[in-house]
Structure formats: structure tokens, C-alpha cells
């Protein structure tokens, strides 16, 4: 009886591992092909599917940048926007959520509930009204229109409230007050350093979301020297690179490798952060 039971569990385990293996192949294979093809020459790619890297990465890079596509500039543009968005999102979301967790002001419950509602409704669909409003202010084709809205990130405040509920230590705040620190000083000098792990987690999400964002810059930006990386990806599909497969794959690889690197080093923060942003005690 016991033997039978063990055998069954073992067999099931093997079947599960096979299933997990197939699922892993489906998950990773497209990404692997992308990275590998970025190093293969166009003729190698045309000759057949290959799973091992080749040696033509420099050649591909020369083709990629030799046809008027300023990938470096796009990279720096995306980086500038993403870093600004990250700083604003984390700072102002933590400011607001700290205020909600620490102070008992009238309407704070209402405000916290309102933030949840904001997370649940598709505010992105107001992009047309946003665009027309920005064009009246002369802010289309301006990074301010992409960066400043991150001061009011509802998801970040939602995350921050849950985070501060677990890290705020009232005694530290009281000690700060006894020492004569101002309320904002306590936030800056005592709570922010303490909240660093949460700031890193939220910051990674804000950074990646901005880095990957295609729709908003696509609607708002018009001059080509301001294009972000996802917008240049669209150019890669155009006629200029029609048959230069190696260069196309390399261009795509350049846009995703930074995120893969972030993930390799900070996956723990990211995975815990997703769990934290969704599970409410």
C-alpha cells in the first residue's frame, strides 16, 4: 500500500517536471532565439534555425546604426524619462502613503478607498483628452508630459500604504519629535532610509513600466530626435531594414537586455514586490 502510494507520487512528480520543462521551453525559446539571432549574420539566419550564438554581433551593430537609426539617442531618451519617472513616482507615492499611514486626518479612509478605485479604473483611456490639453499648453513633444503625471501614480500609493503599514515604527517617529525634528524631516531622515527596500521594489516597477511604455510617447512625441526605444522598434520593422534580420534582432535585443540584467540581479525584489502589491492582509 505504502509502496504503491510512493510510486504514484514519484510518477506524478516526473510527469509534472516534464510539463514544467515544456512550459519553460515555450517561455524561454522566443527570447533565446532573439538573443542568439542578434549575434548571427543575416545569411546564417536565412539558412536555418540555430540555437547557438554566432560571431556577427559587431557586423549587425554596424548595419543597425549605419542607416540613420540613432539607437544610442533613443536609449538615452528612454533612460532619462525612466529615471525621472522612477524618482518622482517613488518619492511622491511614499510621501502620500506615509501621510495616510501616520496621521489621523479627516477623510483619510475616504482618500485611501479612492486610491483603490483609481487603481481599478482604466484612466489610460483619457489619453485623447490628455493630449489635447497638453497641446493647448504647448507641452506635446515635451518630456514633461510623460514625466510629471507620475507624481500621481495611484498604484504606487496603493503599494506604499501597504508597505508603510508594515514598516512604520511609531517609537522612532516619537523619538524624532522629542529630538525636535520637523514632521517632514522625520519622513526624510528617519522613515525614507528605513523604507529603502520598498523604494527599490517600487522603483524597479516604475522604471520598467516607463522603459517599456509605447502608447503614451507614441501619442505625445513627434520629433524623431525625442523618440524613445519602443518607438524606434517600430522603425526597425520598416523598409530600411527589410531583409537585415541580424540587425533587426540585435536592435530588439538592445531594448530588452537592460531589463533582463535588472531582473537577474533584482529578481527577488521584483517577485516579492508583485506578491506585496496584490496580497492585502
Amino acid at each position: 500500500m505504502t509502496k504503491n502510494y510512493n510510486f504514484n507520487t514519484k510518477a506524478i512528480r516526473v510527469l509534472i517536471y516534464i510539463f514544467l520543462g515544456i512550459l519553460l521551453l515555450v517561455t524561454i525559446l522566443p527570447i533565446w532565439l532573439l538573443l542568439v539571432n542578434a549575434t548571427r549574420s543575416t545569411s546564417e539566419i536565412q539558412q536555418g534555425v540555430g540555437f547557438l550564438p554566432s560571431t556577427h554581433i559587431v557586423e549587425n551593430y554596424e548595419i543597425l546604426t549605419g542607416r540613420g537609426l540613432d539607437l544610442v539617442r533613443g536609449f538615452l531618451n528612454s533612460l532619462f524619462i525612466a529615471v525621472s519617472v522612477t524618482v518622482l513616482t517613488v518619492y511622491f507615492a511614499f510621501l502620500a502613503s506615509y501621510g495616510i499611514v501616520v496621521y489621523n486626518f479627516r477623510g483619510k479612509k475616504l482618500f485611501a478607498g479612492f486610491v483603490v478605485v483609481l487603481v481599478l479604473i482604466p484612466l489610460q483611456l483619457s489619453i485623447i483628452g490628455f493630449f489635447q490639453y497638453m497641446s493647448r499648453l504647448g507641452l506635446t513633444d515635451n518630456y514633461a508630459a510623460l514625466i510629471l503625471p507620475s507624481i500621481a501614480s495611484a498604484f504606487a500609493v496603493f503599494f506604499g500604504i501597504q508597505y508603510f503599514q508594515s514598516v512604520v515604527i511609531q517609537d522612532l517617529i516619537d523619538a524624532g519629535r522629542v529630538d525636535g525634528a520637523s514632521e517632514i524631516g522625520i519622513f526624510h531622515r528617519i522613515m525614507m532610509p528605513l523604507a529603502m527596500p520598498g523604494a527599490v521594489t517600487l522603483g524597479i516597477f516604475a522604471f520598467i513600466a516607463s522603459w517599456n511604455n509605447f502608447f503614451n510617447p507614441f501619442i505625445l512625441l513627434s520629433s524623431i530626435e525625442k523618440y524613445t526605444l519602443p518607438m524606434l522598434v517600430q522603425t526597425l520593422r520598416g523598409d530600411v531594414y527589410r531583409t537585415e534580420y541580424g540587425a533587426i534582432y540585435l536592435g530588439l535585443a538592445i531594448t530588452i537586455v537592460p531589463v533582463i540584467l535588472i531582473y537577474i540581479f533584482l529578481s527577488r525584489y521584483i517577485i516579492n514586490g508583485i506578491a506585496m502589491g496584490s496580497v492585502k492582509e
Binding site: 522566443p30 496621521y103 482618500f111 482604466p122 485623447i128 483628452g129 534582432y249 496584490s278
Partner: protein, 298 residues
């Protein structure tokens, strides 16, 4: 002391002030403006705009392309959501099962999640290349004899829509696993132990303990996925010609909104109308589900 405390709590308003001000400027006003524009014939070219009442809405509802876009968006979302939640539940059960003791749970999970972080624009371009006529998929299918000759995958409406469904599933099932597992590990083991004493089998424990206690998390996943799905743009836009081809099979709400916005006359009144209708539809479904299911819980 009472007065001091009273004053101190007013700092809360100062702390939330930047968020509130930025929200009014960059969040609320654009929503109001979008609603306002949907009742006008504003274009990108003219500074003058006339109030046209419900004309934009009447035209939109009479437009077959709009019906196609809404139905497509729902179809693509539902077809990706069901396997997404199904596989995620299955994996979460396996990964948290103490009798199976699977190895490397953290690593499996981390790898399954990877596609979620990658730039959707690049993913769309990648799948466009993989499934192009001279791409690796055709090379493989023809050389290994699965297909007699190369196929134009992205000219077949069913295959193209299926591909968008697949990409959406591929990008999101890993995240759903992480969230469901977080919910499952929060359930007290003693509940299962006492159920075991009462002679419950695995299926009974899943349906009577796990699922009911996971309900808030499943609602969260459902709503966030719905809200994202109704605004799907990058993948269907960049996978083919940006007009929902072939045969309008991957025309979505947001692609239609963008097409109206970017048309030669730049009819932003009509584009805003698409945004308003999808906004109302999504908000009603999302908040409806949230409040109905949440209240029944109490």
C-alpha cells in the same frame, strides 16, 4: 496636548497634497476633457470646435468597425485569461504542495515570469519576425515536414488572433502564478490539517478552503487583467500593419481610438468618444465585479 495632536494630524493633508494636485491636473482634468471632447467635433487642425451632442456616439455605435473592435478585444482577453488563470492555479497548487516537494520552485517561477518584464513593442516585433514568411517558424515547420510549404501566418485571421492571444498569455501567466502563490501561502496550514482529520480529499480541500480564501486575490487578478486587456494596444498594433489586419482580426478598442486620432483630419472628438465608451464599459464591469463579489464575502 489635544490641540497639539489635532494640529499634527493636519500634516497628513500636506503629505498627500502633491499627489492630489498632480492627480487633479494630470488625472482628473484629462478625464473630464476626454468626456467633453466626445461631445464635440474637435479636430487636430482646427482651433474651433462645435458642440455636436451625441452625434459622435450615434456614429460610433452605427459603425461596424467599432463592434468588431469591442468584440475582438473581449475575445482576445477572455481566450488569454482562461488558460492564464487555469495554468497559474495548477502551477500554484503544485508549487505549494508539501507532498510533491518539487525542486527549484523559485527558479521555475522566476523564469516563467520573465516575459512579463520585456518591452511589448519588442515582443510584437519579435513574433512578427519569428512568424514572417522567411522566419524561423516556417523554416522549422517545412524542414521537419509538418507543413508541405511555407505559410503566410500573419495573413490568416485565425492564426494572427491566436498569436495575439498566445503572446498575451505568455506574458502574463507567470505573474498570475506569483500572485496566486502569495495568496495560497497566506492561508493557514491548520485549516488543511483539520480538514484532513475530518477526512477531506485534495479536491474537497481545494474547492472548500483554497478557492474561497483566494477569492479576493482572484478578483484582484480578474479586474487588473480586464482593465489592462480592454486597453490592449502594443502587441496587436505592432504585430501587423497597425490597422488590425488581417481582416480586422486583431483590431482592438485602442487601435480604433488611435486610428481615429491619427486619421488625416485628426478627428479627436471621435477618438475621445471611443475612449469614453470603453472607459464606461470597463469601469462598470470592473467596479461591478469588485463590489458585488466583495460584499457577498462579508
Amino acid at each position: 496636548m489635544g490641540v497639539l495632536k489635532f494640529k499634527r494630524d493636519h500634516y497628513g493633508y500636506l503629505f498627500i497634497a502633491p499627489f492630489v494636485i498632480a492627480f487633479l491636473i494630470f488625472g482628473l482634468y484629462p478625464v473630464y476633457n476626454t468626456f467633453y471632447l466626445s461631445f464635440t467635433d474637435t479636430t487636430l487642425m482646427s482651433s474651433e470646435a462645435t458642440w455636436v451632442g451625441l452625434q459622435n456616439f450615434e456614429r460610433l455605435f452605427a459603425d461596424d468597425v467599432f463592434t468588431t473592435a469591442v468584440l475582438n478585444t473581449w475575445k482576445i482577453w477572455i481566450l488569454n485569461f482562461i488558460p492564464q488563470i487555469g495554468i497559474a492555479l495548477l502551477l500554484s497548487i503544485w508549487f505549494t504542495n508539501t507532498r510533491l516537494k518539487l525542486r527549484g520552485v523559485g527558479a521555475w517561477r522566476a523564469l516563467y515570469f520573465l516575459p512579463n518584464l520585456l518591452m511589448p513593442a519588442a515582443i510584437a516585433a519579435l513574433f512578427f519576425s519569428l512568424f514572417s514568411f522567411y522566419g524561423p517558424v516556417n523554416q522549422f515547420m517545412v524542414r521537419s515536414g509538418f507543413l508541405p510549404e511555407a505559410k503566410h501566418y500573419l495573413q490568416d485571421p485565425t492564426i494572427t488572433r491566436g498569436l495575439v492571444v498566445f503572446i498575451q498569455w505568455w506574458m502574463w501567466f507567470g505573474q498570475t502564478v506569483i500572485i496566486i502563490m502569495a495568496g495560497m501561502t497566506a492561508i493557514s496550514i491548520s485549516l488543511y490539517e483539520s480538514a484532513m482529520v475530518d477526512g477531506a480529499n485534495a479536491w474537497q480541500m481545494f474547492t472548500r478552503i483554497t478557492l474561497p480564501l483566494l477569492k479576493p486575490i482572484l478578483i484582484f487578478i480578474f479586474i487588473t487583467s480586464l482593465v489592462g486587456g480592454m486597453q490592449m494596444f502594443d502587441i496587436p498594433y505592432l504585430l501587423t500593419d497597425g490597422r488590425g489586419s488581417p481582416g480586422g482580426s486583431i483590431m482592438t478598442n485602442n487601435i480604433l481610438m488611435y486610428l481615429k486620432f491619427s486619421s488625416t483630419r485628426g478627428h479627436i472628438g471621435a477618438a475621445a468618444t471611443v475612449g469614453v465608451v470603453v472607459f464606461i464599459m470597463t469601469t462598470i464591469v470592473a467596479l461591478g465585479i469588485y463590489f458585488v463579489l466583495r460584499d457577498r464575502n462579508k
